[in-house]
Amino acid sequence: MKKIMIVEDDSVIANELQLLLKSSDFDAVILNDFENAENEIIKNNPDLILLDINIPFINGEMLLKNLRKKINTPVIMVTSRENEVDEVVSYSYGADDYVTKPYNPTILLLKINALFKRCDQNKNTISYKDLTFDIGKGIVKASDKEIVLTKNEIIIFNLLLSNKDRIVTKDELMTDLWNNDEYINENALTVNISRLRTKLLDLGYDNIIETRKGIGYRII
């Protein structure tokens, strides 16, 4: 389980973030001792840091600058200031991504997943049972057969497979599609899912995408 450190002084947000991350199968730790933020973070050895710019004792950007001298953990900067300066400074100090409050929680999760994926280099293929899914080419191979997926189907299948232990909500799927410039509606999502099912059936996998009515989908 990946460990994410939440550096955020607003306790309501910190707690809600922790809840959000835990519900997505991450181990989320909240930083409490801002005075020794740098040491605390290093001691906790997280896989990713969510770093708010406006924190007590030290500015988030300075903290990032100091951290970068010691560790290379991916960092997503969070701010509520609507301006470009913070963004530019954050990137120059070594931030990997940047979000502005109020952020879309699903987008934040997608960004976190994307960062982890970037870190695991040989994640261009996902295996499931005896299927191998080449994400870049969009090809799903079974023992003797292979099928080619469309862009939408690749996005959907990838998100389902990457979260195969839990239900992926419709909103997550839709957000991921929109995040990849596929601005489709829910009917189109349903159509895409059923096409994906038909294609998987060709490979001999009947009904591996389960519908949870009103919630979302899950790979079984």
Binding site: L20, R81, E87, V88, P102, P105, W178
Partner: protein, 334 residues
């Protein structure tokens, strides 16, 4: 200033001088002074009087003439003190010193207002920064508790209204506090689209884009605000059914043109020229949904500052198309 005017201003002195001269000549005549001496006296008195007045006129004239000339040439009249001649006479000194004092007190008064405006702007920025924190909490809570999408839509409306204030304050300020960077137009459109995703889906709007992946020089946050405002309007003034919003971009000469099209209720012909006016609500803004009339005004101001042209084409009951010429921005490139 003319010599005649100068004499007119000093008419009393002239009359006293002439009266004294006449009196003196009469007295000399009465005492039977030599006629030649009398003529010499008259001549000397008149000539000296004339020379004295002319000298004093010329001196004054040279000061006032250059003063009026430079005042005439200046567009910022308050800078007159910088161009004025060094005062030589007591009178000139009084004028220059009083101008200096007047200027100084005016500058102080203006600085006071300036400081107040800057302080107010800073306060608004800090306040918005503060208020975004509870809004973030609300959004996270809604998401975690799986509340209704309607509630999220209300929070987004609140967030949009707050942004309107922020960008109004920024657009009204004279200093340029935007940062120009190279951004991909596609990324900007994606962020705005996702921001409005739920509202677009909730309103069953058929949303599509055709954007070339293209790097443009802009302030990303400003451009996002501009496009967001326009999409919000398209959602607000949509037709009952079969709504479409399309965002497309293409190149025209050295410019990138961004078009946001909707098949909504459109804008009446009589309103279209005034949509960018401050506080203009128009027929739609009054009848359909309450509007502040500030959204497009701010959009126009931001576009002006970024050097973009923005137009609106519309046919009532049919469509509205907002066209933004993003410009080549070569000016900003180093």
């Amino acid at each position: 200033m003319k010599y005649k005017d100068y004499l007119k201003d000093n008419i009393v002195s002239v009359l006293i001088y002439l009266f004294t001269t006449i009196l003196l000549v009469t007295l000399l005549f009465a005492f039977k002074t030599n006629i030649y001496l009398l003529i010499i006296c008259i001549f000397l008195l008149l000539v000296s009087g004339f020379i004295i007045s002319l000298y004093s006129f010329l001196r004054k004239n040279s000061f006032y003439k250059s003063y009026l000339n430079s005042l005439d040439k200046l567009t910022e009249k308050y800078l007159i003190l910088e161009t004025i001649k060094e005062p030589t006479t007591y009178e000139e000194k009084i004028i220059v010193n009083s101008l200096y004092d007047i200027n100084k007190s005016m500058i102080e008064a203006i600085n006071e207002y300036k400081r107040n405006t800057v302080e107010f702007k800073e306060f608004v920025e800090i306040w918005i920064h503060e208020v975004k924190i509870p809004i973030s909490s609300m959004i996270l809570k809604c998401h975690n508790q799986k509340y209704d999408k309607d509630l999220l839509s209300i929070i987004r409306r609140l967030d949009n209204s707050i942004d309107e204030v922020l960008y109004y304050v920024r657009s009204e300020n004279t200093e340029k506090d935007f940062v120009i960077n190279e951004v991909d137009l596609k990324d900007v459109i994606r962020d705005v689209s996702i921001k409005n995703k739920d509202d677009l889906l909730l309103n069953s709007i058929d949303f599509s884009t055709s954007i070339n992946s293209k790097s443009i020089s802009t302030d990303r946050k400003w451009l996002e605000f501009i496009i967001n405002q326009i999409i919000n309007n398209s959602i607000k003034y949509k037709k009952e059914k079969d709504s479409i919003i399309t965002i497309s971009s293409y190149d025209k000469e050295d410019k990138t043109i961004l078009e946001i099209y909707d098949n909504g209720i459109g804008i009446p012909r009589s309103d279209i020229k005034r949509v960018f006016d401050k506080s203009f609500t128009g027929t739609n803004g009054r009848s359909k949904v309450k509007s502040t009339g500030m959204g497009l005004y701010i959009v126009k101001k931001l576009c002006d500052k970024l050097g973009y042209n923005i137009y609106i084409e519309s046919e009532e009951g049919n469509y509205t198309k907002v066209i933004i010429e993003l410009g080549s921005n070569d000016l900003y490139k180093i």
